[in-house]
């Protein structure tokens, strides 16, 4: 890697986490929420998404490439930190550590989730309400999905907070405190949406 490229890579990592990956997460959770209105509503929504024109390009440029870069560079960031919450048990230091832990959990979860749904679809399986109901019928997988979804939402909400700092949008301590409350709110709202959808499948 060329020298002095780190600023670019880090800022790109921060940007891609929100646009488009974070936005995709929100959209995905909202579409899933159709499951609470019954199998038919969910299947219609899923088929609408599947039927979007230029689907493979949308997937590659809005999801796969940004997500892969964010994930791979994120692993590097996570493993260059030396967590020290036992010595410095401050709120933000805990968030710092949780951001790294949830990032790794989310990565494992997404890898499995993509294998089980999108890659299965590429091999001919149909992604619909029944598929998810079958997966979530196993209590182990249900817990795995709950943990994965909550990790992803936490990582997004807290990442949004640090995105605002990293780009110099929230500079004053007060604005950073307020954005903490706002991102906690985002975490709670998205968690309710995500968990409601998961519960709807069982």
């Amino acid at each position: 890697m060329a020298r002095n490229q780190e600023f670019l890579w880090r800022r790109l990592h921060s940007l891609l986490g929100v646009i488009p990956v974070g936005l995709f997460l929100v959209q995905h959770l909202v579409i899933n929420h159709f499951a609470t209105q019954g199998p038919e509503a969910f299947n219609n929504a899923a088929h609408f998404m599947e039927g979007l024109p230029f689907r493979i390009f949308l997937e590659v440029f809005v999801i796969y490439l940004p997500l892969l870069f964010h994930a791979i560079y994120g692993i590097y960031i996570a493993f260059t930190a030396k967590n020290n919450t036992s010595r410095y048990g401050y709120f933000r230091n805990w968030m710092f550590m949780l951001q790294r832990i949830t990032g790794i959990i989310t990565l494992v979860f997404i890898a499995w989730h993509v294998w089980e749904t999108r890659i299965a679809a590429a091999f001919g399986a149909e992604v619909n309400f029944n598929m998810m109901a079958d997966i979530l019928a196993s209590p182990f997988m249900f817990i795995f999905y709950v943990v994965g979804v909550l990790s992803a939402i936490f990582h997004f909400a807290n990442g949004l907070w640090s995105f605002l700092v990293s780009w110099g949008i929230t500079v004053s301590p007060r604005s950073q405190v307020i954005s903490t409350y706002v991102t906690i709110g985002i975490f709670v709202v998205l968690s309710v949406i995500g968990i409601r959808a998961l519960v709807a499948f069982i």
Binding site: N4, F7, R11, Y90, R92, S166, P173
Partner: protein, 253 residues
């Protein structure tokens, strides 16, 4: 009663930069208003450990003895701070002294903080005023701004913020919060501002500003109460603008 009162110290020692660290315990007679440095001086005067064995005096750095030079920083009961202002009466016993291991240990509690001074050079933490002729007086600084900048100028390069930062370690090149905040200080000065872009570009290099992971331990730990995380966020804004200028702007300096 009072004359028998003692103070227990557990000191992490290391004989050479490469040898393994070990702990040694000391029990000292209590004196009023003792601080960690006066205790270390007592050990130096009578280098006998808690087992009654004669030992080598503990090595440590110190200079001003009034928390303005930063030399005597060490980890005291788990927190990095200056040993000159660490009063024995206010510390839980046994008092544990360790070197700040983020830095290379020279011996015992003595560490090499050179990397911080190298970083200050790298980010050009000074104001160039020399010319081939008398350049005359620089622009004036508003008093209110001077008072604000004074807070940032209190940094004594003590290394506590680097020690507290989870992203400053042997696996990363991060220069740490202290030199970053100095960039904000010198960029705020009316004359220093003339070289603003140079400093911003220096911290946009590898190991620079973007290595901050926002754990905000630095601002919690700084003995001088410097708003380090505000400095970092402000520099994030400045470098965002600088990056935009560098890419989309004209060739005007």
């Amino acid at each position: 009663m009072a004359e028998n009162k003692t103070v227990r110290f557990i000191v992490t020692r290391q004989d050479t930069p490469d040898s393994a660290p070990y702990e040694e315990e000391f029990v000292l007679p209590y004196r009023q208003n003792m601080n960690v440095i006066s205790a270390l001086m007592e050990i130096r005067r009578n280098p006998v450990n808690a087992k009654g064995e004669e030992t080598v005096p503990v090595s440590w750095d110190m200079n001003c003895l009034e928390e303005v030079c930063g030399a005597c920083s060490m980890v005291i009961n788990g927190k990095p701070r200056q040993s000159c202002t660490a009063l024995v009466d206010k510390l839980e016993q046994p008092i544990r002294l360790e070197p700040m291991k983020t830095f290379p240990v020279i011996r015992d509690l003595q560490v090499d903080r050179s990397r911080m001074f190298d970083s200050l050079k790298r980010v050009k933490a000074w104001i160039p005023i020399d010319g081939t002729y008398d350049l005359g007086p620089g622009p004036r600084m508003p008093e209110r701004k001077r008072q604000w900048a004074y807070e940032l100028s209190k940094c004594m390069t003590c290394g506590v913020c680097l020690e507290a930062c989870p992203n400053v370690n042997s696996k990363s090149d991060f220069i740490g919060p202290a030199p970053l905040s100095q960039v904000r200080l010198f960029n705020a000065h009316p004359t220093g501002e003339m070289n603003k872009a140079e400093r911003l570009e220096a911290i946009m290099g590898d190991g620079g500003l973007t290595n901050c992971g926002n754990s905000q331990n630095c601002v919690q730990s700084c003995p001088k109460g410097i708003p380090l995380t505000t400095s970092i966020a402000a520099l994030n804004r400045d470098t965002s603008i600088q990056a935009f200028k560098n890419f989309f702007g004209s060739d005007q300096v």
